[in-house]
């Protein structure tokens, strides 16, 4: 079997509908009798609710219901914990509707159901909530101080959990190190900002009692798992469908209060109800990420080789814990980066604040750790006056060390092992594109222009456990159907699954269709988080399609009376090589679908199909190095990114064009984190950047072309040799841009240990450095 599609830049099978306005996103779904909902949300960051008066609101035209927690029967019934952990000291999940207290601006208090969204908004503005404001925790730096206000009234403190990752003897390594440097590093939160906001439709079928929930989610199976027991329903009575989803980027992974509220309200009112998050709601009600403060030390030898890292991280989890400790956990799992450290000792404390809760946003904790480690690497270079790339060269895990046990341990206690990689090749292939940079930099400085070259390397643990699965089936018309639990949000999963199946079954890709994200069409799934779908979903399609292929060959060999070894599958038919004898997959499928009175061949299960699950027993590690060239206008502090190069290793490429798309989008998200996106709250916890004029996403004019170099070290851990590619663009990008800015400002001796950086902040840094 020669790969025809695997490895080729195949145009996506998803595109024709999306290009002609026929994508079916959540808000495009219209059900008979469907009402629309709006939520009354907290305007306070922290307050007791004294009273909620809905009488005026209820009497507005076009209003069907205005429901509080008590009306909905959900008071005192918080949402379940998605990811329980014994480390959690204070178990706090949000109530579907708050009835006693609110803990961040945007928290749901009441649901208003009307004939139209506009009518629901009219009435929502008339719900009177009488609050008793309480002091709010809005500053992570002091959140764990004894005298800090409590994010939750009556709590002993704001401490959620302490996590620690450690190997080697840090005391000894730091004691004998020639160099030890200490840094305080700050990273600020941003949002997901998928162009499609979240949305939910819930409808209960009166006769069957079946509850169907459409949700713009990354994880429909998780929504079902959370909803069914909470509603007291068998899982079989709850079907969750993710329609076309307009981007996810992490925050569409958790299950939200709105999903619970819509389900409960639809059942209560006995009619379908839709809620579509508007952009202002998205700014307060969809989870955010990246607030962390690091106090760390790095030990290096005389040549600048990194020996050890130790320190503490303060992590802001916002007002609740909707996702257990998964987000801080991804921070800890990102060590030791690509570096062969002798010792590591990191302690993380997660804290509650009265801000929007945090869960993973593209990269999760990894961009944080990459930023921290890369700032330390640059610090070593600066202090030792050596090339920044040399610190990496000397500190990386070498190619001959793979598989490499990092020293860290997985949650089950097993050692973490880098399965494959070639960190040095990634580095050198990117570095060589800037061989003339230093001379250009010197020339430019003579003209008063400040160029900088940034560098950042990273690893990404991908293919997160436990599993994804797929059914591959040849239909009686010869066309192939792939059913899978792994839903997509624009990555092109259907295309890559179709590529894999089409190759194995010898059919044109046009003959493969994929159905995903519907708990009613495939029994088990986890979700599209942590760059895991190509690895686990792709492998499961490969396994299932391989079984179908074997089944087809076995049956064809009987029907064509030829040895299996002599058979080839091409253009939807099984041929006896070198003859004109053949049989169509359609005929085989028809045969196995069965005809009354005609027994199936012996030891053959019905249907020309198979189901397989691929279990991710160990992580597969993607890696890479980014370089960026910037110019800083030192008078205004503005930054122009002139060039950006990514050298990237995600194992074998199923579809290079799609991988490039993932990388470019990811890099631009990271550039947003570095230069543009800042979610600002005032001291009382009011968010003040709740529109796109003030919260800035990167735009086409601010972004350079992104050059991509692929290094392929196939993963030995899965049958197709792939590693995840969804977040690798984002992970190093902020670190790379900040590195470049710092490099440009070397003549001013500016040191940068934070992001995002506004032009004003850059100007202040220059002034501050001049002054010292």
């Amino acid at each position: 079997m020669g790969a025809r599609y695997f490895g080729a830049s195949v145009p996506r099978i998803e595109d024709p509908g999306l290009l002609t306005g026929r994508g079916r996103y959540l808000d495009d779904i219209k059900l008979p009798g469907m009402a629309e909902a709006a939520f009354v949300r907290s305007v306070h960051a922290h307050a007791r609710i004294k009273h909620i008066d809905v009488t005026v609101a209820r009497n507005q035209p076009g209003i069907i219901a205005v429901l509080t927690a008590h009306d909905l029967g959900v008071a005192g019934k918080p949402m379940p914990q998605f990811a329980p952990s014994p480390l959690i000291k204070q178990q706090r999940t949000q109530h579907v509707l708050a009835s006693e207290a609110v803990h961040y601006v945007g928290e749901t208090i009441a649901i208003v159901v009307g004939d139209t969204r506009a009518a629901a908004e009219d009435a929502a503005a008339l719900v009177e909530v009488d609050y008793d404001p309480l002091p709010a925790v809005t500053d992570l730096r002091t959140a764990l101080d004894g005298d800090a206000p409590r994010a939750h009234e009556g709590a002993p403190d704001n401490h959620i959990a302490t996590m620690r990752t450690k190997f080697g003897d840090t005391d000894q390594v730091f004691a004998r190190a020639v160099h030890v440097f200490r840094e305080t590093i700050t990273q600020h939160r941003g949002g997901c900002h998928a162009m499609e906001c979240r949305g939910v439709i819930a409808a209960e079928d009166e006769i069957s009692g079946q509850l169907t929930v459409w949700s713009s989610t990354q994880a429909p199976y998780m929504v079902r798992r959370m909803l069914a027991p909470w509603l007291g329903l068998d899982e079989s009575r709850v079907r969750v469908i993710a329609p076309q989803v307009g981007g996810g980027f992490g925050p569409k992974g958790p299950t939200y209060p709105e999903e619970f509220a819509l389900a409960q309200t639809a059942r209560l009112l006995k009619r379908p109800i839709k809620w579509v998050e508007d952009r202002r709601e998205h700014f307060v009600a969809t989870t955010q990420q990246r607030d962390q403060i690091w106090d760390v030390e790095v030990a290096a030898d005389a040549n600048g080789r990194m020996l050890g890292v130790r320190g503490r991280c303060l992590h802001d989890n916002g007002a609740y814990l909707p996702y257990g400790l998964i987000l801080p956990g991804t921070t800890m799992a990102s060590f030791p980066g690509p570096y062969a450290l002798e010792a590591l000792d990191i302690t993380l404390d997660a804290a509650f604040t009265n801000l929007t809760p945090t869960t993973p946003v593209r990269g999760a904790g990894r961009p944080n750790v990459a930023f921290m480690l890369e700032r330390l690497a640059d610090r070593i270079a600066r202090e030792l006056k050596i090339d920044r790339a040399d610190v990496r060269r000397r500190s990386f895990v070498r190619k001959d060390q793979f598989p490499y046990a990092t020293g860290t341990k997985a949650r089950d206690g097993s050692p973490i092992v880098f399965d494959s990689g070639d960190f040095h090749s990634c580095l050198e292939s990117a570095v060589e594109r800037f061989s003339d940079f230093r001379s250009r930099q010197e020339e430019a400085r003579k003209e008063g222009r400040y160029l900088g070259l940034g560098i950042a390397s990273y690893i990404e643990d991908t293919g997160l456990a436990p599993f994804e699965g797929a059914t591959v089936k040849v239909q009686p018309n010869g066309k192939v159907l792939v059913l899978t639990g792994a839903a997509g949000q624009g990555q092109g999963h259907h295309t890559v699954f179709a590529q894999i199946a089409a190759d194995l079954l010898g059919v044109p890709i046009e003959d493969v269709s994929v159905v995903s994200g519907d708990t009613g069409s495939f029994p088990h799934g986890i979700g599209t988080v942590g760059s895991r779908v190509a690895v686990l979903g792709g492998s499961s399609v490969h396994m299932a399609a391989t079984r179908v292929r074997e089944k087809a060959l076995k049956l064809a060999s009987e029907m064509l009376e030829a040895a299996e070894a002599d058979l080839v599958i091409e253009s939807g038919r099984v041929h006896v090589a070198g003859t004109d004898r053949s049989i169509g997959l359609a005929d085989l499928a028809l045969r196995l679908d069965g005809v009354a009175g005609l027994p199936l061949p012996r030891e053959t299960e019905p249907g020309l199909g198979a189901t397989a699950y691929f279990e991710g027993r160990a992580l597969t590690f993607a890696s890479g190095t980014n370089l960026a060239e910037v110019e800083v206008d030192v008078e205004t502090g503005t930054v122009k990114i002139l060039r950006y190069v990514v050298a990237h290793d995600c194992g074998r490429l199923i579809n290079p064009m799609l991988v490039d798309g993932q990388i470019r989008g990811g890099v631009v998200h990271g550039i947003g984190n570095a230069l543009f996106e800042r979610m600002i709250y005032d001291d009382s916890g009011q968010p003040v950047t709740t529109n796109y004029g003030e919260y800035l996403l990167p735009t086409a004019t601010e972004i350079p072309r992104i050059e991509i170099i692929h290094i392929e070290t196939p993963s030995p851990l899965n049958p197709i040799g792939v590693k995840g590619a969804g977040e690798g663009g984002t992970i190093p990008a902020a670190a790379c841009i900040i590195s470049a800015i710092e490099d440009a400002l070397t003549p001013f001796n500016v040191c940068i240990a934070e992001h995002p950086l506004s032009p004003e902040r850059i100007a202040d840094l220059i002034d501050g450095a001049k002054a010292t």
Binding site: A118, A125, R280, E635, T636, F676, T689, T701, P759, E760
Partner: protein
């Protein structure tokens, strides 16, 4: 994010408009709507009546008259952006328009809407200030004129009575050959200006500065003309040190601050951009000499 309900009116003539405006309580006029509709959608502004100016044909024109460019209040930004007369006679308007929102908002946005909305960062009021423009007002008491210097009464508050409407704007053109420059720093192209600087500069036969106009947007609630700086420039040679001195002046103007931008940063940019705009305008003035 849907607006609160309102009644809608669509007059066809200025007279009908003036009558309507006088008869509607809590009304908002909609021109291009590119600032108003977001405020409606976000329910910052909740009018009982919205009066649409888009069908009043007589408010849409660009013409030269008596040494001045006259632009009707409902002339769309994209029309000014591509107009040949403007390109010849007041190209700085087109330079500034490149920074006004985006392709799609300039398709609807109007010059009159921009002047009446009077956002502190808006570019077009800054150009009006640069030219000492006159605003022509119609109302139940007849018509009147307001100089741009008297137009702002405060934050987003033009000198317009509730029953009056802006009909057109007159930009007196400079008779002498001159150079122009419009420079702006915003976070991204099309964003609200942190600071924008417009500059017109004429040189005499000896190469000294004969006339100068400098206007800044973004720094205060209304465009700021640097009259003292302009006066000090007269007779000076257009050199780096002249520009530097002007920049020093610009750095001392009192500036607004908000959640993201401090006053001192605005002052810094005012200085930098004034120097750069003067340099560019004088280079262009050299060519026109």
């Amino acid at each position: 994010m849907k607006p609160a309900p309102f009644a809608y009116h669509r007059p066809n003539t200025i007279n009908d408009l003036v009558a309507l405006v006088a008869s509607c309580e809590n009304a908002k006029l909609i021109a291009g709507g590119q600032s108003l509709v977001p405020m409606l959608n976000m329910r910052y502004v909740i009018p009982d009546h919205v009066i649409d100016l888009n069908r009043i044909e007589s408010l849409n024109f660009i013409r030269e008259n008596n040494g001045a460019i006259e632009i009707g209040a409902m002339t769309r930004q994209c029309e000014i952006e591509h107009d040949q007369l403007i390109a010849r006679r007041a190209p700085i308007l087109q330079d500034a328009l490149r920074h006004v929102g985006h392709l799609q908002t300039r398709s609807r946005g109007t010059i009159g809407g921009s002047l009446c909305h009077l956002d502190p960062a808006a570019e077009l009021p800054g150009i009006a200030a640069l030219y000492d423009a006159t605003l022509h007002i119609a109302g139940p008491r007849g018509t009147r004129e307001v100089n741009i210097a008297d137009w702002s009464l405060g934050y987003m508050t033009p000198a317009l009575e509730p029953d009056e409407v802006l009909t057109h704007i007159t930009f007196p053109l400079w008779k002498e050959p001159h150079g122009h420059a419009f420079l702006e720093i915003a976070r991204r192209l099309g964003d609200f200006a942190i600071v924008g600087v417009g500059c017109l500069l004429a040189l005499d036969r000896n190469g000294a500065i004969a006339r100068a106009a400098i206007s800044l947007v973004g720094v205060s609630t209304a465009p700021v003309r640097l009259s003292d700086t302009e006066a000090a420039l007269i007779g000076q040679k257009p050199t780096e040190s002249t520009f530097k001195a002007a920049a020093e002046h610009a750095r001392t103007i009192e500036c607004l601050e908000d959640a993201q931008i401090s006053a001192s940063y605005r002052q810094r940019l005012a200085g930098v951009l004034v120097a750069r705009a003067l340099k560019l305008a004088s280079a262009r003035a050299e060519i026109t000499k």
